[in-house]
């Protein structure tokens, strides 16, 4: 038995590398943005010191408007609730960034590394809107769901946070324990459009 620890995405068994090699030309394109660092950050948005501390640790202003997000080269912050944010960073860097946040924040706050609890799927392609319309009860028109908006919603009776990154590009943050169920759901619902997996 090997002594080295091995990290696995919750969708390791789906063999995305093998599926990507099939080079299917589908209307829905799925990619797992696996093994990223996910940090849950909680604190008081009305406290200027908290905002300043986050800014100095992440070099990014905390998005305060409901359902908004902020992004720079290697960090994305998503608004989850008035006192809760999800910070997504490159894999392996999350422990260092958690330490940085703890150093620059004072008082009543919480930072939790939840990288192992969830995973991110990116869906795109010309038919991805139809696929999402089957799965969530939210209006996907650009007026109600503009680029960079983040919503927490019910996705196929499970929950997900969905961020729009382009007119036909979405990020789904799903729970580890529901990852297989959602993978099956996405395969079945995208059958009529064709599903192509990329790496």
């Amino acid at each position: 038995m090997s002594n080295s620890a091995r990290v696995e995405s919750p969708l390791e068994h789906a063999d995305f590398a093998g599926l990507a090699a099939l080079k299917i030309n589908g209307g829905v394109i799925l990619r797992e943005a696996k093994l990223l660092g996910h940090l849950n950050l909680r604190g008081n948005a009305n406290d200027p010191d908290f905002l300043k501390g986050v800014k100095s640790a992440l070099d990014l202003d905390l998005p305060l408007a409901p359902c908004s997000s902020a992004q720079n080269a290697n960090t994305t912050i998503m608004w989850l609730s008035p006192d809760e944010w999800l910070v997504i960073v490159d894999g392996v860097t999350e422990a260092a960034i958690e330490g940085k946040l703890r150093q620059s924040l004072r008082g009543h706050f919480a930072v939790s590394d939840i990288s192992g609890a969830q995973t991110m799927l990116e869906i795109s392609g010309k038919d991805c809107l139809q696929l999402l319309q089957k799965s969530i009860g939210y209006d996907l028109h650009l007026d109600s769901f503009p680029i960079n908006k983040v919503i927490g919603t019910a996705l196929a009776k499970s929950s997900a946070h969905i961020r729009r990154t382009g007119e036909y590009n979405f990020q789904l943050i799903i729970r580890r324990s529901f990852a297989d169920y959602i993978w099956l759901w996405l395969q079945q619902s995208s059958k009529e459009y064709g599903l192509s997996v990329t790496l």
Partner: protein, 97 residues
Amino acid sequence: MLHIHCPYCEEYREEEEFSVVGEAHIIRPLAPEELTDQEWASYLFFRKNPRGLHHEMWAHSHGCRKFFNMTRHTVTYQILETYKMGQQPSITTEDTK
């Protein structure tokens, strides 16, 4: 399906995202040991069941996961307002005060 305005997400969402929690504005007694059994039981178990306006607590469980309050008509299902925790309803009747 009800279309419910979440006061924290500041927009309307589908009922599927929410869970109903029960009657709102129930205040825990400050000195439970001084209450009679009847008063304690009524705090713990006895709830209003009005025909008409009702203030109830809901949770946006698939969204921001915050609790909030709602004034709803129990006969017509009409939602008159939703408001944040800690706030008081602006629409009341004699019965709901």
